[in-house]
């Protein structure tokens, strides 16, 4: 029984990564209608930027938490301005392929310069050590990850769903020309939103740097699962992806305990089942 609690908790921690990553994807998909395949690569960049900040500039984890998303976000905005922008109004497929291409380039370049086995990034001193919860040893860093991601998720949700910005964005996805004709600088808004989504990915990257290896392919392995999370939650639904992210982490954790061989597969089984029952995901709008 105790072991089960431990698994649940660990699942929640993983869930917070899924939630953060799928949140960024959901923002980008829901608001810009782009299936951002580069998300994994940008997540990886977040981790790398944190590494550089530390090893080259001596800038610590806490600053990296702020700076890396900004830096990667700006990179994302440049991508949006120079490339993605030209795809407005076209089918999803083109955005997907373009961002897939971008992901390949980014990953390839990082691999060339840093190899594929990755670089170490230490846990910041303030978050070292662990708590003995009785049923498990909980590293302090992991506790921090859960709490911090929850806060970020809720803040983002609030920004998108509870302010005007969200309505503008959704409307702009459907008919950018008209929204622009209402007096809103749609291109700038879109660029900033892409920056936000990408920044979220980078943030997740910084968070994961001390836990996982800082590797060029760290995002590539994750991206498909994160896509599944977004689909299960309902494409474009912010809350849907947050909840599904956490829930999936837990479900995966349980699978790892009861039937570990299937822990990579369970998300796809879930996705098929959910889509069979609810054709547009748990909370999604019609495609």
């Amino acid at each position: 029984m105790q072991a089960l609690y431990a698994q649940l908790l660990v699942g929640l921690i993983n869930g917070s990564f899924y939630a953060l990553l799928s949140l960024g994807l959901a923002v980008i998909f829901g608001m810009l209608n782009i299936i951002n395949f580069a998300h994994g690569a940008l997540y990886m960049m977040g981790a790398f930027v944190a590494y550089f900040l530390l090893s080259l500039g001596g800038i610590n984890y806490w600053w990296a938490l702020l700076l890396a998303p900004v830096i990667v976000g700006i990179f994302g905005m440049i991508l949006e301005r120079t490339m993605l922008q030209w795809l407005t109004g076209l089918d999803h497929l083109y955005g997907l392929l373009l961002t897939f291409g971008i992901a390949l380039i980014v990953q390839g370049v990082f691999q060339n310069y840093f190899g594929s086995s990755g670089l170490p990034y230490a846990i910041p001193d303030q978050l070292k050590g662990g708590l003995n919860l009785g049923f498990m040893f909980l590293p302090v860093y992991r506790a921090w990850v859960v709490i911090f991601s929850l806060v970020v998720c809720i803040a983002t949700w609030f920004l998108i769903e509870k302010t005007r910005l969200g309505a503008y964005l959704r409307a702009a996805t459907e008919n950018p020309t008209l929204v622009r004709a209402f007096g809103i600088n749609v291109p700038r808004m879109i660029t900033l939103t892409y920056g936000l989504g990408v920044g979220l990915a980078a943030l997740a990257g910084v968070l994961s740097a001390p836990i996982n290896q800082v590797r060029p392919l760290m995002g590539a392995d994750l991206i498909i699962v994160v896509f599944a999370v977004v689909v299960i939650g309902g494409m474009g639904s912010i809350m849907g992806s947050i909840i599904t992210g956490f829930a999936l982490g837990v479900i995966e954790g349980l699978t790892k305990y009861f039937y570990p061989e299937a822990s990579n597969t369970v998300v796809f089984v879930l996705m098929v089942l959910v889509l069979l029952v609810k054709p547009t995901g748990l909370t999604g709008r019609a495609a």
Binding site: I35, M83, W86, L87, G89, L90, D91, H92, L93, Y94, L97, L98, F100, G101, I102, A103, L104, I105, V106, Q107, G108, V109, Q111, N112, I224, F227, A228, V231, M235, E261, A262, N264, T265, F268, V269, M271, V272, L275, L276, P279, T280, G281, G284, A286, A287
Partner: protein
């Protein structure tokens, strides 16, 4: 999903004549390959992928359904054919049908599950199904996991054609490809193909005209999946192995890429796309580490500058459908 094929031109009798001319030219070019000194294995491989891409294009270009799991048909047919040839020691003319049949059955099942989903959800459910299958194949004993089925005997087709001779194999693959290609061409230009296009354009309207659209999409899915399986079965003879690569999602992505590079919803586009991508992979192999970067750049350039694909751009230029 209309923006994908916005440039589809109406097919006029003149267009059909153009297409036949191009087809004959293509067939003659391909038939003369063994006499040109071009490396036949490369062409054979490309032919298999070309058939796969054509099958995929049938679904997306004419049915408006973007499957992100087409590798599952390729891989399944490959594994089953390979198993039939190696373990059951069936001759090629029976080994191929085994693979096709497997893909057919698989497409019935996956089609039944996925066909009612729309747009991006259709893509995702096909992706999920193919991922499930990937994990099954990773575990299943008969696939030999990540080692794959190796050293598959090529055998003698109908007891006469010795497929281990490159030239013989080449013509067998070529005939297979051309047959598949013609079938797809026929499907596109059949009464069924017309209805499919109408459904792609405006499904509610098609329903209101009395078409049970799910059945048409299902048939298109099954045809596409089975033909993809044919490609997979042929590929076994060329590569002489069947491995997880063929069921991995990146293979599904590659098919999308080939079709896109050549021109979505064009008849010859997928063929050109497949040749271009395979050639690129071969050629880039010597670039070592920069492969992914170059490949990525090609994606980006392709999407940004010639979105209609090679054939699509040419067709657009001449205002013909090709």
């Amino acid at each position: 999903m209309t923006a994908l094929t916005d440039d589809t031109l109406p097919v006029t009798p003149r267009a059909m004549r153009d297409e036949m001319v191009v087809f004959v030219v293509m067939a003659l070019l391909l038939a003369s390959v063994p006499f040109t000194g071009v490396y036949p294995f490369f062409v054979m491989q490309a032919l298999c992928f070309a058939l796969l891409a054509c099958a995929f294009n049938l679904l997306i270009g004419y049915g408006g359904l973007l499957s992100f799991g087409h590798a599952m048909f390729l891989g399944t047919a490959g594994y089953c054919s390979a198993h039939a040839l190696k373990v059951w020691a069936l001759p090629p003319e029976l080994g191929i049908p085994v693979g096709i049949a497997a893909a057919f059955v698989l497409s019935l099942i996956t089609g039944y599950i996925s066909i009612r989903r729309q747009g991006i959800y259709f893509s995702m459910i096909t992706l999920a199904l193919s991922q499930l299958l990937y994990f099954i194949y990773l575990q299943a004993p008969f696939t030999h996991g990540e080692d794959g089925i190796q050293g598959i005997p090529q055998g003698r087709m109908f007891g006469v054609f010795d497929l281990s001779k490159p030239t013989v194999l080449y013509y067998v693959v070529l005939v297979g490809f051309l047959a598949g290609f013609l079938l797809i061409y026929r499907i596109i230009n059949s009464p069924f193909g017309e209805v499919l296009k109408a459904i792609r354009e405006n499904e509610p309207r098609a329903i209101s005209l009395g078409y049970r659209t799910d059945q048409y999409k299902f048939l298109a899915f099954v045809l596409s999946g089975t033909l993809a399986g044919f490609a997979g079965a042929l590929k076994v003879f060329v590569a002489q192995n069947a491995s997880l690569t063929d069921v991995h999602w990146s293979m599904s992505g590659e098919v999308v890429l080939m079709t896109l590079v050549g021109g979505l919803g064009t008849i010859f586009g997928p063929v050109v796309g497949a040749f271009a991508i395979i050639a690129m992979q071969q050629y880039l192999a010597s670039f070592g580490q920069w492969v992914t970067v170059i490949q990525g750049s090609i994606f980006v350039i392709c999407v940004l500058t010639f979105r209609r694909g090679v054939i699509g751009e040419i067709a657009h230029y001449f205002r013909r459908s090709l």
